[in-house]
Subunit: 330 residues, 2 copies
């Protein structure tokens, strides 16, 4: 941009943040050239399809610094992308992180954010190889993530579900959205706050997200016909599988695996617990279509993470009407 020349701040910040991450990725496999050039140079495993996904997280939409730390936001911004690679049954590898921050944000916010990002990078085996830093009014974290297909199983798409496949879901549902509802409930009411203390896994689910990488790979190897990560809400995401696969679904609502504390949260707030599980979103579990006779194999492969049969796919005309998820543009 054409402006008054000024002494360096942006490049100093980038160098410092890059240095913070380097500790988690020294000599990362496949990284020929990391941050600091026009582009990174990477060498994915030969002969495998490459997976590519991107998510843009915006302050006060996807995270709220009243409820989450900058480190939480950093962790989550990478984890939700890893979750997309997990939902293909892939292996997360290389990330680009573009950050928009207030010019007066101060170093601590960005350092903390990068510490959380680095924590997720180390946990999921991801090398952050580049990105961008710009001045914005509001914190924005834009991550693009590359992954690889497994050597012994093809990527699992959304479009392969068949009538009579079982609908299964990993882990538990509703924690992240129940936590957010508790955070937002009036301060005068002590019960929601007490529940957040009693069930710390609720807030953790909201703040950090998760990614079921191992479970997604197990599903690919067990012959899953379709898979998606639960980000918009279980029902909405299962609906995406139905739409892309041209099938319907009948849910077993009574079977939905509620996360610990979700029922208590619903009772305290006077709402229906199944709403958190069906439409809450931000769960980052995997919803999977798979032949019924392969369910036990998959269950054994992902133990001790639970696997729940939450319905069955049908012909399109035999499916039920699904409740919708959250939509910022509705």
């Amino acid at each position: 941009m054409s402006e008054v020349p000024a002494p360096g701040g942006e490049f100093g910040i980038i160098a410092r943040l890059t240095e913070r991450l380097r500790a988690t990725q020294a000599g990362a496999a496949g990284v020929v050239l990391g941050p600091g050039d026009d582009a990174a140079i990477v060498e994915p495993a030969a002969g495998r399809a490459l997976l590519a996904t991107a998510d843009l997280l915006v302050e006060d939409r996807h995270f709220d610094l009243a409820f989450s730390t900058p480190a939480d936001a950093g962790y989550k911004s990478l984890a939700v992308n890893v979750s997309d690679i997990a939902a293909m049954g892939g292996v997360p590898r290389f990330a680009l992180v573009s950050l928009g921050a207030r010019a007066d944000a101060g170093p601590k916010l960005l350092d903390d954010l990068y510490d959380g990002l680095g924590e997720a990078a180390a946990e999921f085996g991801v090398a952050v190889v580049g990105g961008d830093l710009v001045a914005t009014d509001r914190l924005v974290v834009s991550v693009a993530l590359l992954g690889e297909a497994l050597g012994d199983a093809a990527p699992v798409r959304r479009d392969g579900a068949r009538p009579a496949d079982a609908l299964v879901v990993t882990g538990t549902l509703g924690a992240a959205s129940a936590a957010l509802a508790l955070f937002r409930s009036p301060d005068a009411n002590a019960r929601p706050r007490a529940l957040l203390d009693e069930f710390p896994s609720l807030a953790a689910a909201h703040r950090r997200g998760r990614a079921r990488v191992r479970e997604g790979q197990a599903a690919a190897r067990a012959g899953a016909t379709a898979m998606i990560d639960v980000s918009d809400g279980f029902a909405a995401d299962v609906g995406h599988i139905c739409e892309r696969s041209g099938v319907g679904v009948v849910l077993d609502r009574a079977a939905l695996p509620l996360a610990p504390g979700v029922r208590e949260a619903a009772d305290a707030l006077g709402v229906d617990a199944s709403g958190f599980a069906l439409s809450g979103g931000d769960d980052y579990e995997l919803a999977i279509a798979i032949a019924p006779e392969r369910v036990e194999e998959l269950r054994a492969a992902i133990a001790p993470v639970p696997l729940t049969v939450a319905g069955r796919f049908t012909r399109a005309e035999d499916g039920e009407e699904l409740p919708r998820g959250w939509d910022h543009f509705a």
Copy 2:
């Protein structure tokens, strides 16, 4: 996010925008699965290093809808990433585009933006394979771009310049920053507006950017030792080469190739034209270090685009102090 369920808008917008792009990428080579799943599946050319870059463009920082159309912003957001791949001497291939827009922006803004993006995608042979769409206060376009190394020349980094290498630059400098200065000059002064009409290439440079893909590849094949695209300002970007390569530079200021109209713009505004060329930024030309005896080979390869010898690299201690470029975080 846990919110009141609402009828679909986001997915409808994504589907419509994706459809607009599909026309430019039907059957794109290497695209196994495009937008609409958890991740795209692509197959880059076997045996070549992969290049990865990302740039985040923010309304009123990188583009101003008073001076540019949404289509310009869309075009530029991809072009500046292509320029980064060009600066490695690579081949641009696959893009992820994450868009933040006001929820009440209306379809025309996004449609226009995607038309410009599609125009750049078609021009540079890039397939847009995925991305994200979120609600923000201000238009944000975050692009990640993958490219491939050439089969017959290695990627050119910033860190290989040697003392006695020539510093050469493609094309001309100063047009984009001179245009922005003219746009921002007071309306009462008719001369700046007249110059914008007289030299339409000035405004075009600001609005759309460019990417010297063919020239970058020619430089890689001609044995360039270091290369960078001119985005922060020629002097600042040459400084990045010096820093990474551990060398100095002596510029030939009189030789700097001013774009048509830059001198006239500087005269009208009462400033020094060399400021636009040295520190203006947004030029997206290539600054290249190359052995002096290879300059003519490179000049012949990129004709009719001009190539100018703009200085020579030196030992670090023999270099001059360079003027700095623009920095949002200074």
